[in-house]
Symmetry: D2
Subunit: 293 residues, 4 copies
C-alpha cells in the first residue's frame, strides 16, 4: 500500500519502520526533520508537510502526542485533509479525545475521505516488535482497508464498532484501568509497609493471585521505587486520565476512581513529578502515609 | 499431626476434609452440629466445644466468618485458649482484623501457647482442590510447625514476617486489590457502554493487556451482569473493605481508593444488594450513569 | 450611559429593567423576542441582533446561560465584537469558563475594545431588588467605566484583579463552596436521620453554630425535602462544578471535594434529577444510605 | 445541686468554674492533680477518684478528651459507675463515639442510674463565657434534671431525642460540617490563588454570600496561613472525623465528603501537622497544587 505516516516519536518511528519493512511504500512526515533520517535509510520517502505525504496515498497513519498535534496534522495548514485522495483512509492511531475523533470523522467524511480511529496498547518495545494491540473503530470497509498496515504493526485487531470514537473510548478505558491498577498497588503496598511487610512479599501473594504481567511489572517497579527513566511519563498519564474523564463527562458517567486518579496525578505534577514514570504516583501515596517515598 | 479444626463453613469444611485425607488426626468443632456429619464420615472426630477439640492437639486451625466468631472460638467460654496445650500452635486462617490478630497473639503468648496468622487466598473450589495460597505470619518455629497442615491445604505458603498480624495485613491488602479491580472494571465497562461499546469487546482488549484470570473472571461476570449466586457476597466484601481501612487507619495510611470502595459497598448494601456477588457493585456504577443495571 | 444588554433570562430581565429604571439608555437584545416586550414597555429600545444593540453603546452587558450562548453573542455572526465602538466596554456578567473569559478579553483587545468579567452572586429575587454582589475583573479604568451600571444592579462590587478571568475564578470558587455546603449538609442530615434525629433538630444546632443564611436556607430545604420548583437547577449546578474543575485543572489544582461533587451531580442527572433544585442531590445521599429520598 | 465534675482540661476547667460560680456544690476530679488548684480556690471540693467525687452527687458531669478517657472515668476502677447514687444522672459532655455512649447508657441503666449524652459546640472561650451550645440526648426527666447545670454552662440546649447517642450523632455531624467547611474553603482559596486572586479578595465575596462567623473565621485563618497556636488541634479533628465515619458506618451511611476528610487528615498527620490547627489541612491543599503552603 501507499502509506503516508505522520509522527515519528517513540511509538511512531518503530511503527513506520515496520510498515517499510513489510514492503509498503511509505512516505513519512515529522515536524522536526531529524527523526526522518533513519526512516529514509530504511527506504521511506520523506515529505515536507503532511499534505505532501498524503498526496496519492491510499492510507494515512498518524501517531501523535496529543489532541493539539493530531488536530494540526490533520486539519491544519498543509494538513492531511486537503491532500488525501477521495476514498483514502486516515487511520488515527494516537491516544486522543473522543471529541476530536468525532470531529476528524466528520471532517474527513465531508471531504469524501474515510476515517478510522485505531489507538494501540503497547509500549515502544511492543511497537518495535510489531506486537501492538490495535483497537479499531470505523465503517467496516474502512477498517478492512487498514488491515495490511495493521498486520505489519500489531499482534491483533479488536474491532470496537462502526463509530470511530468507540475505539478511542476503549483505549481511554484501558489506560484508566492501568492507572487504577497503579494506584491500587501503591495503596496496597503502602498498607503492607506500614505493617512491616516487605513490598516484595506482598507482591508474591498478589502475583500468585492475579498472574498478570501488568500487575507484576507495575507492582515490581513500585516495590523497587524504580520510576526513572519513565516508560510512560506521569504527565502523559495525567493527560489520559483527563481524556477518560472528559469522555465520561460527555455521556454523564460518574467515575469515582477516575476522579481520585485525576486529583492524584494533578498533585504529583504539583510536586514536580511530571517527568517520572506514571507508577511514580506511588511516591505521593507513601509520603501521605508518612513513609519514605 | 493431632489437629483441632474449628469452623466448617464453605471454606472450612473442605479444608478440614483435606487435613483428614492427608492422614492427620483431626477433631472438628462447628457451632451448628449438622456440618460435622460429613467430616465424621471421612474419619474426623467431633468435639462439642472448641476446648474439647483443642485438648491434646498439637495444632488448632480456625476458619471463621468474622472477628466476632474468631474471638468467641478462641477466647470465649470453652474456647481454645483454656485447653490448647503449652507449646501448641493456633493457626488462625480466617480473614480477621489486624487488631484481633494482635490480641490473639498476646493471649496465646500469655498462656504459653503459640499463634500464627495464616489467612488464605482462594474460593471454596480452591479450598477443595488444596490449591489455596496461604500467607503466614508468626515466629519462625511456629510457622514451621504448621507446615504439614499447610501442605495439605494449599499450593504455596508466603511468609509475611515474624509478626502474625503482618499476614492479616497482606490478606486485607490483597482483598482490597480485588475490590479495586472490580470497581475499576465496572467504571471502565460503564464508560465503554456509554460510548456504544459492548463490554465483551472492551474485555477483549483488557484481557489482551492484563492476561489475568482475576481480571478475566470479574470482567466477564460484570459484562454478563452475572452476580448471582454470589461467589463472595457483597456484604462480606464490605466487611473486608472495613478491615482494610481499619488496618490503614491504625497506622495513619490514607487510602483514597479504599475510601471510595467503602462508600460504594455501603451504598450497595443500602440499595439491598448485600446478598449478591461483590462484583455486583457494578450495578450501582451503571445506575449512576443512567444505564440499565 | 448608553448600554446594550443581551440576555433576558431569569437573571438578565430584572437586571436590564433596573438599568432602565436607573435612567440609562438601554437597548436590549434577546434571542427569543417575547422576552423583550416587558423591557420595551419600561422604556428600553429593542434590537434585532447583538450587533445592532452594541452599535453606539458605551457599555455592553451580557447575562447568558452558558459558554455557548456567551460565545455566540459576543463572537458570532452579528455579535458584539463587530459593532461595539472602540474604547467601549463589554461587561460579561454570565457564569462562564475562565477559558472563554480569556478568549473574550483577547478578542476585544484586538478590536480596540475593553473587556470586564463581572459575574454575580445572587438569585433572580436579588437581581430584581438590585442586591446582587458583583465580582469584577479587568483593567482598572474599564472596571471604573462600568460603575454606574453596577451601582444600579447590585449592593457591592468586589474587585478580583486586573485580569478579567480572575473574577470568573472567584465566581466558580463561590459556587463550588455553595455546592460543597449542600453536599455536606445532605451527608450530615443523613447521618443524623440514621441515628433517629430529626433533620430540623440537627439544623437547630447547625444554625446556632454557623449563623449563615446560606446554611439555613439549604439546610431547611434539605430537611423539608423541598427541591421543586428549582431555585437553581441541578443541571446548572453540574455545569458550574464542571467549570470549577476545568479552571482548577488548567492550573493543576487538585480539588477532591469538587471531584466528589462532579460524580454526585453526574449521578443525579443520571437518575433523572437534572430539573430539580441542586440541593436535590440530597435525594441520592439518602437513597445510598437506604433511607427514603 | 451536688455535682461531681471529672475532666479539667481546656474545656472542662472553665465549665467546672461556671458551675461553682452558679452556686452548685461541685466536687472535681482530674487525673493530674495540678489542674484542681484553681477550682479549689473558687470553692470546689477535690476528690481523689471519680468514685469519691460521685459519692452522694445528684449529677456527674464528664468532659474528657476521648473515648478511652471517658470509658476509664465512668467504667474503670474507682469509676463513676460504682459510686453514683441510684437515680442520679451522668451527663457525658465529651465528644465521644455513639458506640461508647450506647454502652455507657446500658451500664448506668443496669446500675439504676440515669445517663444523658450532652456534647457541646464551642471553644474554650465560649466555655468560659458560658456560651456553649449543648446538645442533649436522653430520657426526658433525666435531661430535665440536668437543666440547672446546663443553664450555668451554655446559652441554649437542643434536645436531640430520647436516645442518648442521638446527641453524639448530632455533635459528630456538626464537627463534620466544620471540617467540610475548612476543606472546601481551602480548595476554593487554592483555586483562587492559582488564578492570581488574593485569598482575602475571595473571602470578601464569600463572606458577603455566607455571612457566617464560622466561614469568616476559618476562611480568614486559611487566608492568613495562621494555623498556630492551634484552636483545635488537627489530630483531634482526625479523631472526630473517625468518630463520624464510625457512626455512619454503623448505620450503613456512605459519606463521601467524610471519606475525603479522613484521607486528608491522615495525610496531614503523616506530614507531621497533627499539632497545628485543623484548618491547617489547607497547607496540604496548597502543596498538592504546587503553591506555597
Amino acid at each position: 500500500m501507499r502509506i503516508a505516516f505522520a509522527g515519528l516519536g517513540r511509538m511512531g518511528a518503530p511503527m513506520a519502520a515496520n510498515l517499510v519493512r513489510a514492503g509498503h511504500a511509505v512516505t513519512v512526515y515529522n515536524r522536526s526533520a531529524g527523526r526522518t533520517v533513519e526512516l529514509e535509510r530504511l527506504g521511506a520517502a520523506v515529505a515536507a508537510t503532511p499534505a505532501a505525504a498524503a498526496a496519492g496515498a491510499e492510507l494515512a497513519v498518524t501517531m501523535l502526542a496529543d489532541d493539539a498535534a493530531a488536530e494540526r496534522i490533520a486539519l491544519g495548514d498543509d494538513g492531511l485533509l486537503g491532500a488525501l485522495p477521495a476514498g483514502a483512509v486516515h487511520a488515527s492511531m494516537s491516544t486522543i479525545s473522543v471529541a476530536l475523533s468525532q470531529r476528524l470523522a466528520a471532517a474527513h467524511a465531508a471531504a469524501g475521505q474515510r476515517y478510522v480511529a485505531a489507538p494501540v496498547f503497547g509500549r515502544p518495545e511492543a511497537a518495535a516488535a510489531a506486537k501492538l494491540w490495535i483497537v479499531a473503530g470505523g465503517e467496516e470497509g474502512a477498517v478492512a482497508a487498514c488491515r495490511p498496515a495493521f498486520d505489519a504493526l500489531g499482534q491483533g485487531v479488536i474491532v470496537a464498532g462502526s463509530e470511530p470514537e468507540a475505539a478511542n473510548a476503549v483505549k481511554l478505558a484501558g489506560n484508566f484501568l492501568l492507572a487504577s491498577t497503579i494506584e491500587a498497588l501503591a495503596e496496597a503496598q503502602t498498607l503492607a509497609r506500614a505493617w512491616g511487610v516487605e513490598p516484595a512479599t506482598l507482591m508474591a501473594a498478589v502475583n500468585a493471585l492475579f498472574r498478570s504481567p501488568v500487575v507484576e511489572n507495575y507492582g515490581g517497579a513500585i516495590a523497587a521505587r524504580r520510576f526513572e527513566p519513565a516508560g510512560f511519563a506521569l504527565a502523559l498519564g495525567l493527560k489520559d486520565v483527563r481524556l477518560a474523564l472528559a469522555a465520561a463527562d460527555a455521556r454523564a458517567v460518574p467515575m469515582p476512581f477516575a476522579s481520585c486518579l485525576h486529583d492524584r496525578f494533578l498533585a504529583a505534577v504539583g510536586h514536580g513529578l511530571g517527568g517520572i514514570d506514571w507508577a511514580g504516583i506511588a511516591r505521593l501515596v507513601a509520603a501521605d502515609a508518612g513513609l519514605p517515598e
